[in-house]
Symmetry: C2
Subunit: 135 residues, 2 copies
Amino acid sequence: MDIAPLPDVYRHAPFAQDCAPRRLLRLFSGKWTTMIVHTLHLTGGTSRPGQLQRALPGLSKKMMTQTLRDLERMGLVEREIMQVMPPVVEYRLTQLGQRFVEPLEMLYRWGAQHAALLDQVDRNMATADDVRNAS
Amino acid sequence: MDIAPLPDVYRHAPFAQDCAPRRLLRLFSGKWTTMIVHTLHLTGGTSRPGQLQRALPGLSKKMMTQTLRDLERMGLVEREIMQVMPPVVEYRLTQLGQRFVEPLEMLYRWGAQHAALLDQVDRNMATADDVRNAS
DNA sequence: CTGCATCCTGGGCGATACTG
DNA sequence: CAGTATCGCCCAGGATGCAG
C-alpha cells in the first residue's frame, strides 16, 4: 500500500517544516546564545565565566551556565576545568562552533552598519504608540 | 551634583545594553517574524493572508495576524483592504521593510549552504542525549 | 475569506540563596 | 570564583469560537 504523497504546498513551500533556515533560527532562538558564541570568538575563542558575564551586561549567572550547557550539547563549545582553589574554568569554541561565527558576524555587522534603520523602526513604534494613547 | 560615569566595562563592552546587534536580535526575536518578512519578499513584496499561511506550514492564523500587526507598528509592512465580499486583503513590504530583507537573505542562504553543519549539531545533541539516557 | 477575543499551557528567563 | 537548586513571573504562542 502506497503512502500518500505530501501535498505540493508542503514540498514546494520555501519554508518547509525542517528547512535549513528554520533549523538555524531554532538553534539561535535563545536570548543569549548568539551573543555568547560571538563573545567567545571576540576573546580569541576562549574565555572564563566572569569575563564572559562582564562582557554581556544583563546576563545572569544562571542563564549563562544554562546557555553554555546547551552549547556544549550541540558541540559548539567545550569546557576545561582546572582543579585549583579557587576553581578556574575556561570555555572555548570548538571547531564546529567557530564555523557559526561567520553568519553571526554578518548579521551583527549589518546591524551596526544600518543602525539608522533600527532608529527608524523605533521611531515608527513610538508614533504608533502615541496614536494608541490618543485614542 | 555630578552623575557617576558608567564603569568602563559597560562603555566598552562589545554587547552594551542597546547596541545595534541586540536591537536587531530583539526585532527578530519572534518565532515567525523573519519568515513572514522573507516570504513577503519572495512573493514579490505582496501577498494575501491565506497565501502567506500556506507558505509557512505550522503558522497559526492568530500568530500570523499578531506578527503582521507588530510589523505594521514597526513600519515594515503595510496592509491594504479591499472592501468586497468576501474581503480581500494584501500585505506588502514597505520600503523600510525591504531594507531588512538583505540580512535575512544572507542568514538563510548561509543556512542552506551549510546544512551539513546543522546536521552535525543534531547528531551531537542526539549522542549527548544517549549518554544522558544511559546514566 | 479575514480577523478578533478568549482561554490556557509550557517554558524561557530572572532573582535569590546555598555548596565547594 | 564557578555552579546548582528552587521559586515564580510573565508572555509567547497554540486552540477554539465568533463576527463581518
